[in-house]
C-alpha cells in the first residue's frame, strides 16, 4: 500500500483523467464494470487501479450525464451483468477531452520536463 501522500496524489490525478479513461475504454465496445477495472489495471501495467469505491460512482455519474448508457444483459447460463456503452454525446465529449488532455500533457512536459527544441 502506498503511503498517504501518494494516495492523495493518485486520487487527484485519477480524478482529472478518470472520465477520459472510462470513456475511451467503452468507445470500441460495451463493457461491464469489472472488465473496465481489469483493463485499466492491465493496460497501465499495474500503475493505475480502480476499486469499487472509485469506479462505480464514476460510472453512475457518467451515466447520469448521458455520456455512457448502461444496460442489463443476460447471457446464456450466466447472471445478468450491466454493460456500459458510449453514447453519441459521450463520443463528442471523448474527442474534446482527448485533445484537451494532449494539449495539457504537452504543456506540462514543456514546463517540467525535457525541453525540445
Amino acid at each position: 500500500m502506498t503511503n498517504i501522500n501518494t494516495r492523495i496524489f493518485d486520487r487527484e490525478l485519477k480524478k482529472g483523467s478518470a472520465e477520459l479513461l472510462i470513456l475511451s475504454l467503452v468507445e470500441v465496445r460495451p463493457r461491464h464494470g469489472y472488465e473496465i477495472s481489469k483493463l485499466i489495471e492491465a493496460r497501465s501495467g499495474g500503475a493505475l487501479s480502480f476499486h469499487v469505491a472509485s469506479l462505480y460512482p464514476l460510472l453512475y455519474r457518467l451515466e447520469k450525464r448521458g455520456w455512457i448508457k448502461g444496460q442489463w444483459v443476460e447471457k446464456a447460463g450466466q447472471r445478468r451483468r450491466r454493460y456500459y456503452k458510449l453514447t453519441p454525446e459521450g463520443r463528442k465529449v471523448l474527442a474534446a477531452q482527448r485533445s484537451a488532455w494532449e494539449s495539457f500533457v504537452a504543456a506540462i512536459s514543456r514546463i517540467t520536463g525535457t525541453e525540445h527544441a
Binding site: 469489472y34 476499486h51 469499487v52 469505491a53 472509485s54 460512482p57 464514476l58 447520469k64 445478468r80
Partner: protein, 917 residues
C-alpha cells in the same frame, strides 16, 4: 459462497436509496466482487485470501457511500409521479387527463353507467330546453333568425298611458313600408276564421296578407301554381293560396285545383297556388289559406272596418337589411311613427320592435316567461338529481381508491393537486356525457312534438325549425360544467380528508369509518328524496288539476247544452229586424229534434267583462256583467234561489256605450255572491245599484253562484241584465245562442249551424256543446302538463336508482360487520333492521325537508298560475291529498330501493366477509 450483497448493503445503509435502485447497485457491485474473488481463486489464492482480496475493494467504504450519495441524490430529487411542484401547468393537466382516461378505461362499467346517467340527465334537459327555445325564444321562422323583426304599434289618445302594443293601421304600415331603410320585406297580415265551402261549411283559419309575406317567411316555390303577387293586392284579385294540408283534407287533393273556385264566407275565390308547410302558418292553429289583404271587404272579414286606413288590424314584420341592427330599425320607425302621428292629430302612435320571439311579444311575453321558468326549474332539479346520483357512484370509486390516494399524498402530492386530478376525471366523464347529450339535443325536440301533437288537424310536419342554436349549446355546456363540478367535488373533498397512516397501514376501524361515511351518505339520500318530493308534488298537482278540471261541475249544464257563436261579419246597410230574427230563430231552433229550450246572451260563456256598480252609500265595485234572454237560467240550469228570473217584459237596460242615458231602473238578477257582498244579512230583492253612466238596476232575483271563468273557484259577483233582442247593432252583431237538448250533441250542433246559415247567410256561426269546448281547452293545457310529468317521472326514477346505489354501496362497505353479525347469530330480520335503520332516517328527513321547501315555494307558484299563462285555472298546489300521495309514493319507492341491498345483505357469507380486506 460468501455473501457480497450483505457487505455492500451494510455500507449503503445510510444512503436511504429507493429500494429498486439499491437492489440494482448491490447486484452490480456484488457481481464485481464475485469476479474478483473468482479471479483470485483462479490465480491460486486460498478462499480466505481471495475473500480478503475481494473485500479489499470495498476498503474505502466511506468514500463509496459518500460518492454514491452525491451521484444518487440527483436521482432522488426527481419528482415522483404526482409529487412536487412543476412549472408547466399545461403539462400537469395533460398528465391528469391521460391518467383520467386510463382510469376510465380501467373501470369501464362504472364509467359507462356514469356517462349514461349524465347523458340522460344533461341531454334530456338540454333537449327539452331546445324545444322551448325553438318555440319561445326565437322568431317562428325557419332560418335567419337574427334578421327577423316584428313591429307592434300602440295607439293612444293619452301618451302617458300607451296601452299594449299590438296591431298597426294600414296607412301606417304602407308608410313604413315605403319609407323605411333598415327593414326589407316588410309584410303585414291579419288572421281570421272563415267558413270554407258552401254546403256544410267548415271553419278554417285564414290570413289576409301582403304579397311579400311569403318571401318574409322564406317560401319561394309553391307546391303547385303560384304565390301571391303585388298585382293581386293592388287589383284586389279574388284569389287565394291554400296550404297543402287544406288541399289534402278539404279539397280532396284535387290535382286540377289551380284555377278552380272555392267559397270562403260565401264568396267565390280562385285558387292560384298550393303552399307546402312553411313558417307562415303563423301559430300552432295554423293558417291554411292566404288571401291578398285587399280582399278584406270582399270577403266580409272582421268588423268590415269602416276605415281600414285608420283602424289597427294588421300584424307587421320584416327582415333587417344588411348592416342594420334592431336598434336602428326601432329608431327609424320611431321617427316615422311620429310623422304618422302628425297626420292624425289627437292620437299618438308608438312603435315597438322585437325579434319576433314569443317571449318578446308584448302580449304573450310574461306568460311565456312564466311557463319557461317553470319548465327550466323542473329541468334544473332533474339535473341536480342526476348529479347526486353520479356523486354516489363516484364516491364508491373514490372509496376504493383510498390507498392509492394515500400513497400519492405520502409521495408529496399536494391536496389541491389531488382535487384537481379528481375533478379532471369528473369533467372528462361529463364531457363525454355531453357529447352523447348532443344527440338528445337534436332529437328530443322532434320527439316532444310528436308526443304532444294531439289533434289530427294539426299539420303533419312541424313548420318551424327545431334546430338548436347557441342558446341550447350554451345551456348544454352550462349543465356539463355544473354536473362535472357538483358530481366531482364531493368525492374530491372527501378524499382530502383521508387519514394517511390509517390508509397506508391497511384497513380502518369499522366504527370510525361507519360514523364518518354515513353522514355523507345520509346527506345524499336525503337530498335525492327532497328533490324528488318537490318534483313529485308538482307532477301530482298537475295531474289532479287536470282531473278536477275535466270533472268539475261549473254550476250550470255543460253537456246537454249546445252553444252557438253568432257573428255578423259584414256591416250591412239595411236595417235588419233583429226582433223578428230572434223570434224566428228561437222557433226554428226549438223545433229541431231533441231541442228543449233556447236562450241568448251577449257574452262568451267563459269570459265575462266587468262593469262598475255602486250600491247607495257604499263604495263602487267591479262586478261581472252579462245580458241574457229570459229563459237563460232555465236553459243553462242555473237555479234562481230567491225572487224571479228575467222576464219577457223586462225592459232592456240602457246601452253603456255612451248613448242617451236613461234613468229608469231596469230589472236585473244578481248572483248570490253579489248579494252577500253588497247587502250582507239583508234581503237583496228590491235593492238598487247604479253605474257611473247613470243607469240604475233594480234587483228582482238572485241566482246561484256558478264558476265559469275560473275552474274550481266561484265567480266574482255577477249581474244578469235583460238582453235587448230587438235592438240595433250598428257596429256589428255578436251573440251567443244556447240550446238545451237531449240526445246527440254533435248532430244538434250541426243542425243548429245549418238552421242559422239558412236564415242568415251573412252570419258566421260555429256550434258545439259547452263541454266539448271545455274539453279542448283543458286538453291544450294538458299538453304542457305531460312534459312536466315526463320530466318528473324520469327524475324520480333516477332518484330511486340513486338511493339504491347509495344503500347498496353502504351495505358493501359494511360487509365485514354484517358478516360478523350473521356469524354471531343474527337472523334475517335483524339484518334487515340493521340495513334499513341506517337508511330510513335520511329518507324521513329528506321527505320533511322536501315538504317544507315545497310548501314554501308553492304559494308563489299558485299565485302565478292563477294570473298567468294558464289563464282561468287554479291549481290545487296546497292540497293535502296531493302531498300525502306524493309522500307515500316516494317513501314506497325508496323503501323498495333499500329492500334489494338489504336482501343481499342477509345472504352474506360470514366466512368470506371476514376474510376480505
Amino acid at each position: 459462497m460468501p455473501d457480497w450483497k450483505q457487505e455492500i448493503r451494510h455500507r449503503l445503509a445510510n444512503l436511504n436509496l429507493e429500494p429498486a435502485r439499491e437492489d440494482e447497485i448491490v447486484e452490480e457491485l456484488s457481481q464485481h466482487l464475485e469476479d474478483r474473488y473468482k479471479e483470485s481463486l483462479a490465480r491460486g489464492a486460498s478462499p480466505e485470501d481471495a475473500h480478503r482480496a475481494a473485500l479489499a475493494e470495498l476498503s474505502d467504504g466511506e468514500m463509496l457511500a459518500h460518492d454514491l450519495r452525491r451521484v444518487e441524490r440527483q436521482v432522488i430529487h426527481e419528482p415522483v409521479v404526482l409529487g412536487a411542484r412543476r412549472i408547466n401547468m399545461i403539462a400537469d393537466l395533460w398528465q391528469d387527463f391521460r391518467y383520467a382516461a386510463r382510469g376510465l378505461r380501467k373501470h369501464a362499467l362504472l364509467s359507462t353507467v356514469v356517462i349514461a346517467t349524465l347523458a340522460l340527465g344533461i341531454g334530456v334537459s338540454a333537449g327539452v330546453f331546445g324545444f322551448f327555445n325553438a318555440i319561445m325564444l326565437r322568431a317562428l321562422v325557419n332560418k335567419d333568425f337574427d334578421s327577423f323583426v316584428r313591429v307592434y304599434s300602440a295607439y293612444t289618445t293619452n301618451p302617458t298611458r300607451p296601452g299594449r302594443p299590438r296591431d298597426t293601421t294600414l296607412e301606417d304600415y304602407l308608410a313604413y313600408r315605403d319609407q323605411v331603410k333598415s327593414l326589407g320585406d316588410l309584410a303585414a297580415w291579419a288572421q281570421f276564421d272563415a267558413p270554407l265551402g258552401q254546403d256544410d261549411p267548415v271553419e278554417v283559419r285564414v290570413a289576409l296578407v301582403t304579397s311579400n309575406f311569403f318571401t318574409l317567411y322564406n317560401l319561394e316555390q309553391p307546391l303547385m301554381g303560384r304565390l301571391l303577387q303585388p298585382a293581386d293586392c293592388s287589383a284586389a284579385n279574388p284569389v287565394v293560396v291554400v296550404s297543402e294540408s287544406l288541399w289534402r283534407k278539404r279539397l280532396a287533393s284535387d290535382p286540377q285545383i289551380i284555377g278552380k273556385a272555392v267559397h270562403f264566407n260565401g264568396q267565390p275565390v280562385t285558387v292560384v297556388g298550393v303552399a307546402p308547410t312553411f313558417a307562415g302558418m303563423l301559430d300552432v292553429n295554423g293558417a291554411s289559406a292566404w288571401f291578398p289583404y285587399t280582399l278584406e271587404t270582399y270577403l266580409k272579414m272582421g268588423d268590415n272596418l269602416p276605415r281600414p286606413a285608420e283602424t289597427p288590424w294588421l300584424f307587421v314584420a320584416g327582415r333587417l337589411n344588411p348592416g342594420f341592427s334592431r336598434q336602428d330599425a326601432a329608431a327609424e320607425l320611431k321617427l316615422l311613427a311620429s310623422q304618422q302621428s302628425r297626420l292624425r292629430p289627437g292620437r299618438t302612435t308608438m312603435v315597438t320592435v322585437t325579434d319576433g320571439s314569443m317571449i318578446q311579444d308584448p302580449y304573450w311575453g310574461d306568460k311565456t316567461l312564466l311557463g319557461l321558468s317553470l319548465v327550466l326549474g323542473a329541468l334544473t332539479i332533474l339535473v341536480l338529481i342526476v348529479c347526486v346520483n353520479v356523486t354516489t357512484l363516484l364516491l364508491a370509486r373514490a372509496a376504493a381508491r383510498r390507498k392509492e390516494i394515500a400513497v400519492r399524498l405520502a409521495l408529496g402530492a399536494s391536496r389541491v393537486r389531488l382535487v384537481r386530478m379528481l375533478l379532471v376525471e369528473t369533467y372528462l366523464l361529463a364531457s363525454m356525457a355531453s357529447l352523447l347529450g348532443v344527440y338528445f339535443v337534436y332529437h328530443v325536440p322532434g320527439a316532444l312534438i310528436r308526443w304532444l301533437r294531439p289533434q289530427p288537424e294539426w299539420q303533419e310536419t312541424f313548420p318551424w325549425s327545431l334546430v338548436p342554436d347557441w342558446r341550447v349549446f350554451g345551456y348544454l355546456t352550462l349543465l356539463t360544467v355544473l354536473a362535472g363540478t357538483t358530481a366531482g367535488l364531493t368525492p374530491a373533498l372527501q378524499s382530502m380528508k383521508v387519514n394517511l397512516s390509517e390508509m397506508l397501514n391497511g384497513g380502518r376501524s369499522m366504527l370510525g369509518g361507519a360514523a364518518r361515511g354515513s353522514r355523507l351518505y345520509s346527506l345524499l339520500i336525503g337530498a335525492q328524496v327532497a328533490l324528488s318530493f318537490f318534483l313529485l308534488v308538482f307532477a301530482c298537482v298537475s295531474i289532479r288539476a287536470y282531473q278536477k278540471a275535466s270533472t268539475i261541475d261549473p254550476g250550470f249544464e255543460t253537456r246537454q247544452v249546445v252553444w252557438a257563436d253568432l257573428i255578423m261579419r259584414s256591416r250591412s246597410d239595411e236595417q235588419r229586424n233583429w226582433g223578428a230574427f230572434h223570434r224566428t230563430l228561437t222557433e226554428r231552433l226549438v223545433a229541431l229534434p231533441g231541442a228543449q229550450s233556447v236562450a241568448y246572451s251577449d257574452r262568451h260563456p267563459f269570459r265575462a267583462p266587468e262593469i262598475t256598480v255602486q250600491a247607495p252609500s257604499l263604495a263602487p265595485r267591479q262586478v261581472n256583467s252579462v245580458s241574457v234572454s229570459p229563459n237563460y237560467f232555465t236553459t243553462l240550469g242555473i237555479p234562481i234561489v230567491s225572487g224571479r228570473a228575467i222576464r219577457d217584459d223586462d225592459p232592456p237596460c240602457g246601452q253603456t256605450s255612451g248613448n242617451v242615458s236613461r234613468n229608469y231602473g231596469c230589472s236585473v238578477v244578481v248572483s248570490q255572491r253579489l248579494a252577500r257582498e253588497f247587502w250582507p244579512g239583508s234581503n237583496p230583492l228590491g235593492q238598487t245599484l247604479r253605474t257611473p253612466q247613470g243607469n240604475s238596476f233594480e234587483v228582482v232575483g238572485v241566482a246561484r253562484d256558478i264558476s265559469r271563468t275560473r275552474l274550481g273557484r266561484l265567480d266574482d259577483p255577477m249581474i244578469y241584465r235583460p238582453m235587448n233582442l230587438n235592438g240595433a247593432y250598428p257596429k256589428g252583431y255578436e251573440a251567443y245562442a244556447f240550446v238545451r237538448f237531449s240526445g246527440d250533441g254533435v248532430l244538434l250542433s250541426r243542425a243548429v249551424c245549418t238552421t242559422i246559415r239558412e236564415m242568415a247567410p251573412d252570419l258566421s256561426v260555429s256550434a258545439e256543446t259547452i263541454q266539448s269546448f271545455r274539453d279542448s281547452e283543458i286538453a291544450g293545457l294538458w299538453r304542457i302538463g305531460r312534459i312536466i310529468v315526463f320530466i318528473v317521472a324520469l327524475a324520480v326514477t333516477l332518484a330511486v336508482i340513486g338511493i339504491y346505489g347509495v344503500v347498496a354501496f353502504a351495505v358493501a362497505r359494511r360487509n365485514k360487520e354484517l358478516g360478523i353479525r350473521i356469524a354471531l347469530g343474527a337472523g334475517k330480520i335483524d339484518i334487515y333492521r340493521a340495513v334499513l335503520s341506517f337508511s330510513v332516517r335520511p329518507v324521513a328527513v329528506g321527505l320533511l325537508i322536501g315538504l317544507v321547501t315545497t310548501l314554501g315555494t308553492t304559494s308563489t307558484i299558485a299565485q302565478t298560475f292563477r294570473d298567468g299563462m294558464f289563464g282561468e285555472f287554479t291549481m290545487y298546489v296546497q292540497d293535502p291529498i296531493t302531498y300525502t300521495i306524493a309522500a307515500i309514493l316516494l317513501a314506497a319507492a325508496a323503501f323498495a330501493a333499500m329492500l334489494v341491498p338489504a336482501r343481499r345483505a342477509t345472504r352474506v357469507d360470514p366466512m368470506s366477509a371476514l376474510r376480505e380486506e
